[in-house]
């Protein structure tokens, strides 16, 4: 059976995504859990970037989720500032896992850069770039696009209504 380069990349990234997603669920420490989510979002972005050739979505994923929503999450976690008694730590060899993860990631990068894989990663690119995406949004999905603006407006309106001091 021929192993496709795409498959290698996919399974590697998918494994990382799964691992970090499990981390979000199983790590009791709220900040570490949030960081795991951050890792998950970033790896998903890499998946978009490398496999689907959708750089725009990848970057927007990082800007919106990692940059904006995660900051909100951390903000809330830190404002609540849970003391150590409110969650329980689990004994996991984090050092080992992190070290292995970093080593794997590094080896993989070398692998990609050095080998013939490099050529394989680009064909998808351009298939779903910014231009193609915007073309889709402003023709076929224009209604959905406009609706999203209404939806966000409603959310903002609701937040303002709930945040007002007087009724």
């Amino acid at each position: 059976m021929m192993i496709n380069a795409w498959d290698v990349v996919f399974f590697f990234l998918a494994g990382l995504i799964l691992l970090s997603a499990l981390g979000v669920v199983f790590i009791r420490h709220p900040v570490y859990s949030a960081l795991s989510l951050l890792a998950n979002l970033c790896v998903t972005a890499i998946l978009y970037l490398s496999l689907m050739g959708a750089p725009f979505i990848a970057m927007v994923q990082i800007i919106v989720y990692a940059g904006a929503i995660m900051v909100f999450f951390l903000f809330v976690i830190m404002l609540m500032n849970l003391s150590k008694g409110e969650y329980q730590e689990r004994a996991v060899p984090w050092r080992l896992l992190l070290g292995l993860g970093a080593a794997a990631l590094f080896a993989f990068q070398i692998f990609i850069l050095a080998g013939e894989w490099r050529g394989v990663l680009s064909p998808g690119a351009g298939g779903f770039g910014v231009k193609a995406l915007s073309h889709f949004i402003f023709t076929r999905y224009i209604l959905a696009f406009e609706l999203v603006s209404v939806l966000i407006f409603v959310a903002a309106l609701g937040a303002v209504a709930l945040a007002k001091k007087k009724l």
Binding site: H135, F138, T139, R140, Y141, I142, L143, A144, L147, V148, V150, L151, F153, V154, A155, L157, G158, V160, A161, L162, K164, K166, L167
Partner: protein, 490 residues
């Protein structure tokens, strides 16, 4: 570089555009209206809803054939139009019964009405969506507004708790719904209902496990707003905690919208999975009816009782979906109008009973109403009769259509169960009647009538009776709605 963007046919979305303009305009107008005269905002909203209702009705004649726009993501047909009228009617009545209520609760934020209009907009999109993404966005627009409205009285702990519960469950289920949509996309490569159906047919995917899973998830996602088992747990808490006009609104409009979306997705998108969804809906239908009615028996709080009764009604309406025939669709459409009349009426009465420091939602608050306010008691009895499905009320006609459809489709056992449930329902509805007529009144503070509330009660009361005695016009309109699904229903 220049990309020409084709202009979609905007004439079909005129009601929605009007709604957006109205809601945004309302927010602007609200800024210039002093705090003690906020009811003006309500009047403007009401007038706007009436205008949109008239405009929407004007489409009826032209829409004998379904028309799509926005590259097939938006469809306008009589089914959608009929449901849009249901939403607009419900919104109008809700605004009428809100006017006084908000003054009692000292709520003077114009955003209340704007959110209600946005909610209506979301539902109008939901019933017209021919693409799962559009439907989803409609659901979210509706749901976000409803979450905020349910928790509008934020200094009331019960209200906040209710809204938070609703919100948390809502976002969770929304995720499931979205996952279902993703699975459909994964299996068929499209989110547009017509294309999904075509691909399923072409590739013979009717037994595809991905699609079956997606079907479960879609049913779950819509099931929350429908309040069907096992996603009905939020209903009693939210109905009890939310401001009463909003409770009335939630109990009718989002339920109708979710049902309409369910019908469209199941009949138009995944109709080839009928054997699978038939089993699913059969079970849900039976469980929902029974849970709703049996639990309602034990309630002391009228809002909670009506919540469980609305769960039970969701079960009855599922009969119509399950039947998958013309009478079924007709029954669903008719039933929602009837349901809007009677449920809004019943909740309106609870608002009427709002006294100083008393919400008016305890059964004891109804004690001796027949002696102190005989007319009010009579109207309440009309609503209760209709809810129980006893002639000569609109509720009876609706239930009759649904049962007839199910019998025609051969679901005898289910109809028997539904009939049995109706008998159970009689019992708890008549507990209220008993409190009103057989018990003597307690000396309590003045009730809180308001012109808007009285008008609303009279309108829904008259409609309940009128369409119970002479259902023909509404029935023929409801019959036309089935036209869209002719291909499937034949």
């Amino acid at each position: 570089m220049n990309v020409t963007v084709p202009m979609p046919n905007l004439s079909l979305v005129v009601p929605e555009i009007l709604m957006v303009i109205l809601a945004c305009g309302l927010l602007l107008v609200d800024l210039f209206i002093p705090k003690d005269r906020k009811r003006v905002v309500g009047y403007i909203a009401l007038a706007g809803v009436v205008v949109v209702g008239v405009v929407t009705a004007a489409f009826w004649g032209k829409m004998a054939q379904p028309a799509t726009t926005f590259s097939g993501t938006f469809v306008l047909d009589r089914f959608a139009l009929f449901f849009k009228e249901v939403f607009l009617f419900t919104t109008g009545i809700t605004i009428l019964i809100s006017l006084k209520y908000l003054e009692i609760e000292k709520v003077s934020l114009g955003e209340y009405y704007a959110l209600m209009l946005f909610c209506t907009l979301g539902m109008m999109i939901m019933v017209s969506g021919a693409d799962l993404i559009v439907i989803y966005l409609g659901i979210e627009t509706m749901a976000l507004s409803v979450y905020v409205l349910a928790g509008f009285m934020k200094f009331d702990h019960k209200c906040t708790e209710a809204a938070l519960k609703y919100f948390l469950l809502g976002v969770f289920i929304s995720g499931i719904l979205l996952y279902g949509i993703t699975l459909i996309y994964a299996a068929t490569g499209s989110t547009q209902l017509a294309q999904v159906a075509a691909v399923i047919k072409e590739k013979g995917l009717a037994k595809n496990p991905l699609l079956v899973l997606a079907m479960f998830m879609l049913a779950a996602g819509l099931g929350l707003e429908i309040a069907m088992a096992p996603f009905h747990f939020w209903a009693p808490d939210v109905y009890e905690g939310a401001p009463t006009p909003i409770t009335a609104f939630i109990s009718v409009a989002p339920k109708a919208a979710a049902f309409a979306a369910l019908v469209r997705i199941f009949y138009h998108g995944i109709q080839l999975l009928e054997p699978q969804w038939q089993i699913l809906l059969w079970i849900i239908c039976a469980v929902t009816m029974t849970i709703g009615n049996v639990t309602a028996l034990m309630q002391q709080n009228v809002k909670r009782m009506l919540a469980y009764s609305s769960v039970a009604h969701a079960g009855y309406i599922l009969l119509g979906v399950l039947a998958a025939n013309q009478v079924g669709v007709q029954g669903i459409a008719f039933y929602f109008f009837a349901y809007a009349f009677m449920n809004m009426g019943a909740f309106g009465l609870v608002i009427y009973l709002r006294r100083e420091n008393i919400v008016g939602d305890d059964i004891d608050d109804f004690k001796g109403l027949a002696q102190t306010h005989p007319l009010l008691a009579v109207i309440m009895v009309v609503f209760l009769l209709s809810l129980a499905g006893i002639p000569p009320t609109a509720g009876f006609v609706g239930k009759f259509l649904l049962f007839a459809a199910a019998i025609k489709a051969g679901f005898y056992w289910l109809v028997a169960l539904a009939a049995l449930n109706s008998v159970v329902a009689l019992f708890y509805y008549f507990r209220i009647a008993k409190a009103m007529y057989m018990q003597s009144p307690e000396p309590l503070p003045q009730l809180s009538p308001g012109r808007g509330l009285v008008l609303a009660l009279v309108v829904v009361g008259v409609f309940t009776l009128f369409f119970g005695i002479y259902p023909q016009p509404l029935m023929s309109l409801a019959k036309d709605t089935a036209h869209t699904f002719m291909m499937f229903l034949s």
